[in-house]
């Protein structure tokens, strides 16, 4: 299996030995390179996802979806992006200016920080903390600040209601998401994402962990969905009630930030689910079938990772385009009365099972 370490260490060598740079400059250049690569990937993934969502949503609804710009409408998203970049940013007269312009950056930074910590393929991992899971949980909840600030600073009643809903929703569902991931941490015995992936070499957790892992997986998907504010949990936006919720007053690239963040968050949730439950970039290995395992190993690790992500994303789209939106009390009931008790029981059971 191709290890991306080869590429990264070659670059490192090139800078240190061939060009003879000292440690500071090597690291500086490497950081910039990583940053640029991640930014590009971030934008690219958002574009691909927007296209995928529009197409798949259309197919669920017996429509064709975008098919005018480019073959099968492939350039549509790029055209939309150009449009959104060139649109005017409208400052709202009675808004809280500083916070109003700051809010989208919170959202985008929150999701970008999480994005950086994902293991995309074997050896393709920007930051590999030993507390990776904790880090991901911490930074991914930064986004809620941006949303609440947006709602507050817009000085718009719809936005405020949307932001309040977002606050209640995101804080609640953080608990279930965290508990579900903790279940897997208990199984893996580590919080480091690379270790978690490595420990799934002989079978993904969703298979190894049995019913516990399955329950945790489902709970994580639901909670993750809720955290990304996507249907059926799109209460903060709830188009038919609050027109556009917290980002009603945003336009141009400011709105674009929310839009892009929404889709990359979807990707991030799927990527975390992939890493924690579906073995990350680890190919499908069945113990005992060596021939089969070898064939699986020929498929590049990035393909495995993105394929699994695509599967999770498809699940998310499928659910989104089938169900109506929950009401705020139903939403909180679902979390506090169903998901949280179940995940608490689940984590306790896993702990017991692992100790035995």
């Amino acid at each position: 299996m191709f290890d991306f370490k080869i590429v990264t260490s070659w670059i490192d060598n090139l800078l240190r030995v061939d060009l003879g740079l000292d440690n500071f400059w090597t690291l500086a250049i490497e950081f910039i390179l990583v940053g640029v690569a991640l930014l590009a990937a971030y934008a690219l993934i958002a574009l691909v996802l927007i296209y995928a969502e529009r197409k798949i949503c259309a197919f669920f609804q017996c429509r064709i979806g975008p098919d005018r710009v480019g073959k099968w409408g492939l350039i549509q998203v790029i055209a939309d992006m150009i449009k959104i970049l060139t649109k005017e940013i409208i400052p709202i007269k009675r808004s809280e200016k500083l916070l109003f312009f700051l809010a989208p950056f919170f959202v985008i930074i929150g999701s970008f920080l999480t994005f950086g910590a994902l293991p995309f393929a074997k050896g393709l991992h920007a930051i590999d903390f030993n507390i990776g899971v904790l880090y991901i949980l911490a930074v991914s909840s930064l986004g809620v600040i941006g949303i609440v600030l947006a709602g507050w600073s817009s000085n718009n009643k719809y936005s405020l209601i949307g932001a309040m809903r977002a606050g209640a929703q995101l804080i609640s569902y953080e608990i279930s998401a965290g508990l579900a991931l903790m279940t897997m941490v208990v199984l893996a015995g580590s919080m480091q994402l690379s270790t978690i992936v490595e420990s799934q070499a002989d079978g993904w957790f969703i298979f190894k962990g049995g019913i516990f892992a399955l329950v945790a997986f489902v709970i994580y998907l639901i909670a993750g969905h809720a955290e990304t504010n996507r249907g059926p949990f799109d209460l903060p936006e709830s188009e038919s009630e609050l027109t556009a919720g917290y980002h009603t007053e945003y336009s141009g690239i400011m709105f674009g930030f929310y839009y892009v963040a929404e889709y990359t968050n979807l990707f991030i949730i799927s990527a975390i689910a992939t890493t924690m439950f579906l073995g990350g970039w680890m190919p499908l290995h069945i113990p005992g079938l060596d021939g089969f395992n070898q064939v699986m190993d020929y498929i590049p690790s990035a393909v495995w990772f993105f394929g699994k992500c695509a599967f999770c994303i498809f699940l998310a789209l499928w659910v989104r385009w089938s169900y109506p939106r929950l009401r705020i009390d139903q939403l909180l009931k679902l979390e506090w009365k169903i998901l949280m008790p179940i995940s608490l029981i689940n984590i306790a059971a896993v702990a017991v099972a692992v100790t035995i």
Partner: protein, 544 residues
């Protein structure tokens, strides 16, 4: 009947019964009106609990008001109470809004168009026109130039306050103003541009967190003055205006107007036309209920369900287009019959559509009705008790969900409805889910009506011969039809000309919106939108 007359005579000695009218009509003095109304409503043996409509008229020297009453407990006995006031400068009448909730909006409408002030009305604002509108447009002496169109950005007076007229102990009229909303209220405006108001309606809602405290609908954004236009149009020309009231029940409204004119002319319509009209009505009803279902699903966030509803509605639109040439506005019934004969493919297409629709309905139930999210949401909000439904005049599927048997196809069968077997769909509880289910069940019922008729369309003419210029005899004519939203009533007052003297349409949607207040109070914002979807009002029908 005689019994009823005697009782009315006893209560109101001034009562005069009119001869040769369609329904029992009584003229009373305006001072005895409230007394009579109170007795009509509260007396168990009379029990006129449903005020269908209040029709304001300019009688030339006086301003008149017709109250159209029905007794739901008493075999749907109908009664028209007429009164008038001679004072054109400062006309006043006693309000009946304390007896029937539906009178609240109707009296505001009469005040808006004819300037009659109702003493005791809790909230006497203009209903459709702006507060700074000059004059009262339905008066015959109204100067059409008195409100020139300006393109300036005028500052619109905030509709915060309202007027109230009361009688003090000496019998003098006392005017007082009051605030609609408290200064501390968190008032959110839904509409006029909002994805879920089903048209250009403004709902101002005061909130307590997510909970709705008070709701105030504001109409008139797309008021076109159709009733005023009708006064200068000949009868065939009015037909197309009827379609543009409730655009989702276009064919039914048009049919109703044709029926009213035919009744006045005592014109015999060929059987073939009667059958085809009935089929068209039922197809329209299905299309409208489908859209109602779809947009309710959309209001609850299920956009896919919305598209499915629209997709299947398209089949009906195609059937319409092939036979009538129009889609939303079929433009098919004319006075005396049909515009043209049915298309040779019509029967085949309809017969293909029936099994398809049945199959799709099952899918709808699996996709949306049984979805626990949707079901719990619908089952937990929006209750409307039967008494409230009658008092607010909530007719149609929404009223039947509260177990009020108000289907006009059963009460006063018109067209071919007495030739077919069908059930009046009613449900017990009057919740959002019941209103939702009544609609879907009515689609099935309509399919069975169409099934019974489609193979039995009799041969013969599709249109009766009419005179080139249609003149209605002098008199007042009423025709009720059951459109997709309920009791649609057409009132024509003719002076024998080729144009009517006064036309009034009773809009079922108007009462549906007024019923938001009792159903939504204390529920969440999300429920406000959902209940709005379950009531399924169409705004152009209100803003006539």
């Amino acid at each position: 009947m005689e019994n009823l007359k005697e009782k009315i005579q006893a209560i109101a000695p001034s009562a005069v019964f009119e001869e040769n009218t369609q329904v029992l009509t009584v003229d009373v003095d305006k001072n005895e009106l409230h007394q009579l109304a109170e007795n009509l409503k509260n007396d168990e043996s009379l029990a006129f609990d449903y005020l269908q409509d209040i029709i304001g008229l300019d009688l030339g020297d006086a301003l008149g008001v017709n109250y159209r009453l029905f007794s739901t407990k008493n075999n749907n006995q109908a009664l028209v109470v007429k009164t008038k006031t001679d004072d054109r400068e400062n006309p006043t009448l006693h309000s009946v809004s304390n007896l029937w909730q539906s009178a609240n909006l109707y009296e505001r409408e009469v005040y808006d168009f004819l300037g009659i002030k109702f003493i005791g009305h809790p909230d006497l604002r203009r209903l459709f026109l702006r507060p700074d509108w000059k004059g009262f447009p339905l008066r015959k002496d109204y100067d059409i130039e008195s409100n020139p169109v300006t393109l300036k950005n005028e500052s619109v007076e905030e509709f915060e306050g309202s007027e109230k007229l009361e009688l003090d102990s000496n019998g003098h009229i006392k005017e007082s103003n009051f605030q609609l909303f408290d200064d501390k209220d968190y008032v959110v405006s839904f509409g006029p541009q909002h994805p879920s108001t089903h048209g250009v309606l403004q709902l101002r809602v005061s909130l307590n967190g997510e909970t709705v405290k008070h709701i105030d609908p504001n109409f008139g954004y797309i008021h076109r003055g159709i009733e005023k236009m009708c006064e200068s149009y000949t009868y065939p020309k009015i037909l197309h205006l009827c379609e543009r009231l409730d655009y989702l029940s276009a064919a039914i409204n048009r049919h109703g107007f044709c029926l009213c004119v035919e009744k006045a002319l005592e014109l015999e319509v060929p059987e073939r036309a009667v059958y085809v009209r009935t089929i068209f009505d039922e197809l329209t009803r299905i299309a409208s209920h489908l859209l109602g279902w779809a947009s309710m699903a959309n209001d609850m966030g299920a956009i896919t369900a919305f598209i499915y509803g629209m997709r299947d509605r398209e089949k009906i639109m195609d059937i319409f287009e092939e036979t009538a040439g129009g889609r939303l506005f079929t433009n098919y019934s004319v006075i005396g019959g049909l515009m043209q004969d049915i298309h040779p493919n019509f029967q085949k297409r309809v017969k293909e559509f029936i099994p398809y629709m049945r199959k799709m309905l099952k899918e709808y139930h699996t996709l949306f009705t049984n979805n626990p999210i949707a079901k719990q949401r619908m089952l937990s909000a929006g209750w409307l008790k039967i008494d409230d439904a009658i008092s607010y005049g909530v007719t149609g599927p929404s009223g039947r969900a509260s177990n009020w048997h108000n289907d006009i196809r059963k009460i006063e069968p018109y067209a071919a409805y007495n030739k077919v077997n069908f059930n009046e769909i009613t449900r017990e509880n009057g919740g959002s889910f019941d209103r939702y289910m009544v609609r879907l069940d009515e689609i099935l019922e309509s399919l069975s009506i169409i099934e019974q008729l489609i193979d039995n369309i009799p041969d013969g003419d599709y249109k009766a011969k009419t005179k080139p210029i249609i003149k209605l005899p002098e008199g007042e004519f009423y025709q009720r039809v059951e459109n997709a939203r309920g009791d649609f009533n057409i009132y024509i007052n003719s002076k024998g000309d080729k144009t009517p003297y006064r036309v009034k349409f009773r809009s079922p949607s108007e009462t549906l919106v007024s019923a938001l207040e009792p159903t939504v109070k204390g529920e969440k914002i999300a429920d406000l939108i959902m209940i709005g979807g379950s009531l399924d009002y169409v705004i152009p029908c209100i803003d006539r």
